[in-house]
């Protein structure tokens, strides 16, 4: 290749940035004019209702259902006359149909279990039990825990270090078995009573310092 050909090459490269910029602006304009742009932040997101039946999460869903029967929530969250018991899940849903299978079952006080899904911490609504997705971001985890504390809901998750992060019931698979830790300190802060039987079965119980 000669130097002349090289100059020719340079000429061909002249308008580089312009077309991509036009396309980029076009995409954003099309998007912001699109109806989905206005309905952001809906409470329950359709697409997270995934139907995948996974064995591990069937077990976890059943386990969560059983755990709820050994936990007493404060009446501010669960008035005696309420008819429903809402189990909410925040973040990407690994449970799918396994969680939906709990809907309609009876909770300890004869209430009917309802399942709610929240896309992110901001859209969390009133619930008695809040399951936190293992795939929720750390920042969202903190605001989810804050929200749960504000409404005195029980928090459960199978994400790692959940109890250390301030969650109440941390599920984990240890030696191929389903195990859990209880952060009693966090539960007490929200006025939640955990039965002695549940505490006996827990691998670790984080207790408040006996200061008074």
């Amino acid at each position: 290749m000669t130097l002349g050909a090289q100059q020719e090459l340079r000429l061909q490269t002249a308008p580089r940035r312009f077309p991509s910029l036009v396309v980029t602006i076009g995409v954003w304009m099309a998007l912001l004019g699109h109806p989905t742009a206005t309905v952001c932040g809906s409470v329950i997101h359709e697409r997270t209702e995934e139907g995948g039946i996974q064995r591990e999460y069937r077990l976890k869903a059943a386990f969560i259902y059983r755990i709820c029967q050994y936990v007493t929530l404060p009446s501010t969250n669960l008035p005696p006359r309420s008819k429903t018991y809402v189990i909410g899940l925040v973040g990407p849903d690994p449970y799918g149909a396994a969680l939906d299978a709990l809907a309609g079952k009876k909770s300890s006080g004869g209430r009917v279990v309802q399942i709610q899904r929240y896309r992110s911490a901001r859209s969390i609504g009133r619930c008695q039990v809040l399951i936190i997705s293992p795939r929720l971001s750390d920042a969202d985890l903190r605001s989810a825990l804050k929200k749960a504390h504000a409404m005195k809901a029980l928090t459960i998750s199978d994400r790692s270090k959940f109890a250390a992060a301030g969650g109440m019931i941390a599920l984990a698979i240890r030696k191929k078995k389903l195990r859990f830790d209880v952060n009693l300190k966090a539960a007490k802060k929200s006025g939640i009573t955990v039965s002695a039987r549940l505490l006996r079965l827990a691998d670790t119980v984080i207790r408040a310092k006996e200061s008074h």
Binding site: M1, L3, S20, T36, C40, G41, T48, E50, R55, L198
Partner: protein
């Protein structure tokens, strides 16, 4: 060839394959309960104790096992990528402790682990979702041909040290394994634009559920990365443009079967300065080349969970790449099929084995400057591996023994055995040691290349044009690596990792000079051919730590030391010992990421490396800052600066003498909307 192999329960890349299938094992407790057939309805009638008695193993379990991996492994997550604002794979690798990343120009990087860094690093295995990214042309990776939107990456796993026992040839100094997110984890829409002094990029993505157990994602991505400058501030003509698109299907076919199909295509252009020698006047000239890149690939992977804690995976892919440089066009089709089977022989004995076949079919169109003979070639690689994990003392001591067997058309039969010992004295401490053999087999260039690689002008003599040729006498480069590692996690929010290595190389590649031949065009040809007249040792250590002093604050830091000693053995190559000064001795990095509020994150990245004497690079300190703000739930904006400290600086230089591009300070803003 098991390069994508799941190493099983205690394996170092355990959770590699098909993250979609969160598998649990059916099993037998006192009540002989089969969790796979019991529905939630039935399970929820059982007592807590009974539920706790059901056996379950899962992918998340394997992930936790990374902490107990018998290798120097680091994992970079999506969150790390997001917070650091990186936009390309090599820039992401810069965040990984112990990985040498030096940017050559706007679209080229020298990436290596434990030495031998250069524009044509050939001792590293790079995989994207189980597909090999290195080119068989020279055994390295064309980074400007690897286009992956950062938003799609789930994690990047990096093993320092040989991974050849399972991964095979080329996994000499390390393995980089890039894993994209399951379609299941990327539901809904995403649009993101990055605009900056050197960047314009848009990513579009949409994921939807199709049927009860299948998820689909499509994405598109285009970018323009603007030129850097040379040392006097003029454009270096090294910009980079590409359009890329792809789709991924993740389908849980049944409780035990999962299928993943990934397809991808791209087209782009990278500008590159090149120095071309010729046998006629002017004998050498610098050109601003435009490289055309294009490619398409499709991969399918089927995983089945078997009873008794076993599984098998069958994977096949086809990959088509085109690279057109003015002096060389290369088309390559790779067809690869691998099978791998993991089984529990006994409670304390896990076996994993696999077989693989790869067909590489290429076609080159050379020029007077560079050519391949034969121009087209079909090569086959047959491989098999077996690895056994023996639990010598329950929960305390593991012995992992294995070997890779491979036959290729360049060096014939290769064996790469490895032995690893894993000791976990407590849940918080892991100690491991390994001895392994790895090889870098000759590549296409080693045998078939002819290139006019440089011109020397001396007063009083004709111009001397170096002509480097491949030869069939080239041998395999061999490594025996000795490693020792320690991992300590005293608290949930603090982890430390330390690894030592001593690498012993034989038959390292050299360029052997021949007798100069006068050419009718007036030049003097200095012929050279590839040889193996050097040996060497490298040794060093890497230490890294991650600490979370507050839940919203993460700090990570690393330091690595490396010494390279090369000994030529009767070589005529003046650069035989070049690698001694081509990597810095000391390298450190520090990263802080602080969530100031729930909606505002600030991250700072600091990179430091010692001087690189043979590349004339002084010690280098680089700082990148990023601020990420989510004013509304679905909308995130970010701003950042890269290379805060100076206007521009060089990070590396390839030895081809084409001048160097300097890494400029750059600013960017980005907007991301999810729907």
């Amino acid at each position: 060839m098991g390069r994508w192999a799941k190493l099983g329960r205690r394996g170092y890349l355990a959770a590699l394959a098909a993250p979609i299938a969160i598998s649990s094992q059916l099993c037998f407790s006192q009540q002989v309960m089969d969790a796979s057939t019991q529905d939630v309805e039935a399970l929820s009638e059982l007592s807590l104790e009974s539920l706790m008695d059901i056996d379950v193993t899962s992918v998340s379990k394997k992930k936790e096992k990374l902490q107990e991996a018998p290798a120097a492994i680091e994992v970079l997550t999506q969150e790390d990528l997001q917070k650091s604002g990186v936009r390309s794979l090599p820039e992401a690798l810069r965040l990984v402790p112990g990985v040498e990343v030096q940017q050559l120009d706007r679209n080229r990087w020298a990436v290596s682990i434990r030495g031998f860094n250069g524009a044509f690093t050939d001792k590293l295995l790079v995989l994207l979702d189980g597909r090999t990214l290195y080119t068989p042309l020279f055994g390295g990776t064309f980074w400007n041909q690897q286009i992956v939107p950062m938003e799609n990456i789930d994690r990047i796993e990096v093993i320092r040290g040989p991974g050849a026992t399972l991964w095979g040839a080329n996994a000499v100094n390390g393995v980089i394994n890039i894993i994209t997110k399951s379609a299941r984890d990327t539901q809904g829409g995403l649009v993101k634009t990055i605009y900056g002094t050197h960047d314009l990029e848009t990513v579009l993505r949409y994921g939807l559920q199709i049927g009860d157990d299948a998820w689909l994602r499509v994405h598109g991505n285009w970018f323009h990365r603007d030129d850097f400058a040379d040392d006097s501030g003029n454009d270096f003509h090294d910009d980079w443009n590409a359009v890329e698109g792809g789709a991924r299907l993740d389908w849980a076919v049944s409780d035990v079967d999962s299928l993943t199909v990934i397809a991808d295509g791209y087209r782009g252009r990278a500008e590159q300065r090149s120095l071309r020698s010729s046998l006629t006047a002017p004998y050498a000239a610098v050109f601003d080349d435009r490289i055309r890149i294009a490619g398409a690939n499709i991969l399918a992977r089927w995983t089945r969970e078997l009873g008794g804690d076993g599984s098998f995976t069958l994977q096949a892919y086809w990959d088509h790449t085109v690279r057109k440089e003015p002096v060389l066009a290369h088309r390559l089709d790779t067809f690869d099929v691998d099978f791998q089977h993991r089984l529990q022989l006994a409670e304390d004995n896990e076996l994993i084995w696999g077989i693989g076949y790869r067909l590489l079919s290429d076609n080159t169109d050379g020029s007077a400057t560079i050519s391949f003979e034969p121009a087209a070639r079909n090569d086959q690689v047959f491989s098999a591996f077996v690895q056994d994990d023996l639990e010598l003392i329950e929960d305390r001591l593991h012995l992992i023994l294995g070997s890779k067997f491979e036959h290729n058309d360049y060096s014939g039969f290769e064996i790469q055995p490895g032995l690893r010992l894993l000791w976990t004295p407590s849940a918080k401490t892991t100690v491991w040691g390994a001895v392994s053999r790895a090889v870098k087999v000759p590549q296409r260039a080693d045998q078939d290349l002819t290139v006019l690689s440089g011109t020397t002008f001396l007063p009083g003599v004709p111009p001397i044009v170096a002509r480097l040729s491949g030869t069939h006498r080239v041998r395999t480069e061999e490594l025996v690596a000795y490693e020792l590692g320690w991992r300590f996690r005293p608290e949930d929010n603090l982890s430390l990792q330390l690894s030592f290595f001593y690498n012993d190389y034989e038959h390292l590649s050299t360029n052997e000079l021949g007798t100069p031949i006068p050419d009718p065009g007036g030049a003097l040809i200095a012929p050279a051919s590839f040889g193996n007249a050097a040996k060497g040792e490298t040794y060093g250590f890497e230490v890294s730590a991650e600490w979370r002093p507050l839940p919203q604050w993460t700090l990570s830091a690393s330091y690595s030391f490396l010494d390279v000693e090369i000994h030529e053995r009767g070589s005529t190559d003046p650069l035989a010992e070049d690698a001694e000064g081509a990597s810095p001795h000391h390298r450190a990095h520090f990263r802080s990421s602080l969530d100031i509020t729930d909606d505002l994150t600030f991250s700072a990245l600091v990179f430091w490396n010692d001087s690189i004497p043979n590349r004339d690079i002084p010690s280098l300190l680089r700082i990148d800052l990023n601020l990420i703000w989510s004013p509304w739930e679905d909308f995130t904006i970010a701003a950042g600066v890269r290379n805060l400290l100076d206007d521009r600086h060089p990070e590396f230089e390839d030895i081809l003498g084409r001048g160097r591009s300097e890494i400029e300070r750059s600013f960017y803003i980005s907007a991301e909307y999810r729907f």
